[in-house]
Subunit: 205 residues, 2 copies
C-alpha cells in the first residue's frame, strides 16, 4: 500500500500529519511525502519545515493520494495539478483534508461528486462542480474528502477500516489514544457560539 502525500509551501501541517500518523500504521504501508522538488517546505505559520523526500515524477502511481489544505491560493495550473490528474487514473483512493478538496476540484476530479471541505470553503468547492455535503467525512466511490484540519483523523481512521478492517483500524485508534475530549463544544459553525464564528470569519482562518 503506497501512500503519497503532497507537500507544498503554506500548507497546514496538521492536515497531512494527522492522516499520516493513522495511515502509516496500516500493515505494509509506505508513505512518501512528495513535492515539486525535494527539500524543505515551510507550512502556513512559517514556524515549521517539513521534508519533501521525492519529486512528483518519482511517485507516479501511488495507491492512496492524500492532499492537505491550507490558506495558500488554490493553484489553477502547475506540477501538483498535473501529478494529481495522472496519479488519480490508477489510484485506489484519492483523498483530501480541509481545503485540499479545492485542489482536487481545481484538478477537475470532483465534478459531479459528493465532497466536503473546510466550512468556510464550501461555496468555493461548489464552484468546481462538486455536490457539497456538510458532513465531516464524505465518500463518493474512491474519492474521500474531509472537513477542516482535524477531520483528517476521522477520515483516515474510516479509510483504514475500509482497507484493513475494523480490528486493525481500532488498534490504530488505540495506539494513538484517540479518545477525544475537547474542552469546548466549538468545533463546528453550527454549535460554536455566534461570537466565536464571527471572530473566525473575520480572521479568515
Amino acid at each position: 500500500m503506497r501512500i503519497a502525500i503532497p507537500l507544498y509551501h503554506r500548507m497546514t501541517a496538521l492536515d497531512a500529519i494527522g492522516p499520516y500518523d493513522v495511515l502509516s500504521h496500516l500493515p505494509g504501508a509506505t508513505v512518501t511525502f512528495v513535492g515539486e522538488q525535494t527539500g524543505t517546505i515551510r507550512t502556513d505559520t512559517g514556524f515549521l519545515g517539513l521534508t519533501v523526500d521525492a519529486t512528483f515524477d518519482q511517485v507516479p502511481e501511488p495507491d492512496i493520494i492524500l492532499v492537505p489544505g491550507g490558506p495558500a491560493p488554490v493553484p489553477v495550473e502547475g506540477a501538483l495539478l498535473d501529478w494529481l490528474r495522472a496519479a488519480d487514473r490508477t489510484s485506489t483512493w484519492t483523498a483530501s483534508v480541509c481545503t485540499g478538496s479545492l485542489i482536487l476540484g481545481a484538478a477537475g476530479l470532483l465534478k459531479g461528486r459528493r465532497a466536503t471541505s473546510n466550512w468556510q470553503a464550501r461555496a468555493q468547492l461548489a464552484g468546481y462542480g462538486a455536490h457539497v455535503v456538510e458532513e465531516r467525512v464524505v465518500f463518493d466511490g474512491k474519492y474521500v474528502t474531509g472537513a477542516g484540519v482535524t477531520a483528517g483523523l476521522d477520515l483516515a481512521l474510516t479509510l483504514a477500516g475500509r482497507i484493513a478492517g475494523d480490528l486493525v483500524a481500532q488498534a490504530i485508534q488505540l495506539g494513538l489514544e484517540y479518545d477525544p475530549r475537547p474542552p469546548y463544544d466549538a468545533g463546528s459553525p453550527e454549535r460554536a457560539p455566534v461570537e466565536v464564528v464571527e471572530l473566525v470569519r473575520a480572521s479568515g482562518r
Copy 2:
C-alpha cells in the same frame, strides 16, 4: 509568548504537530522547533522529516516548553535533558504529550507531581516519582501532561484557554474544525474491545 518544541529522532510527529497547530494560533505566539543540531530529524515511522530550526542553546528561556513522545528509549542524560532542566527554571508552562512525560520525568521534573502519559507507559512514569493520574490532560501547577498522541489536541486547547481565555481558544478550535467524530469507540484501553487492546499490547505501540 515564545513556545519551544524539541524535536528528536524517532519521535512521534503528531505528538508535536497537534499542539503546534493549536498553540501557534495564540495571539502573539512564536513557535521554535529546537534540537541538538539544526537540520532534519526523521520521525518514528522513518517516512517523515521535520526541520529543527534552532539549537537548544539558542532558545534558553521559552515561555512554553512542549515535549513530544515516541517509541525511542527515554534518554538518561544528554542535551535534551540538560536544556529541559535549565529552561524549566523560567518557563511559564512545561508540558508534554504521550511518552514526552517520561522525558520530563527523566529530567527530574515530575517528582511528586500529578501527571499522565500514554496508557502503556503509566508504570514507567510512576518510576520517575510522578503520581500517575489516568486522565487525558493533567495539570499540576505549571506542569501539564497529556495522554497518548492525540491527547495533545485537548491539552493544547485547554492550555490555550488558560492563557488567552475561552473565546480565543474556541476560535482556535473552530479554525481547526475540531469536532471529533471517530468511527469507532476504541480510543481508550478501558472501552476498546479486549482483542484490540491485546493487539496493541502485542505490537508494543
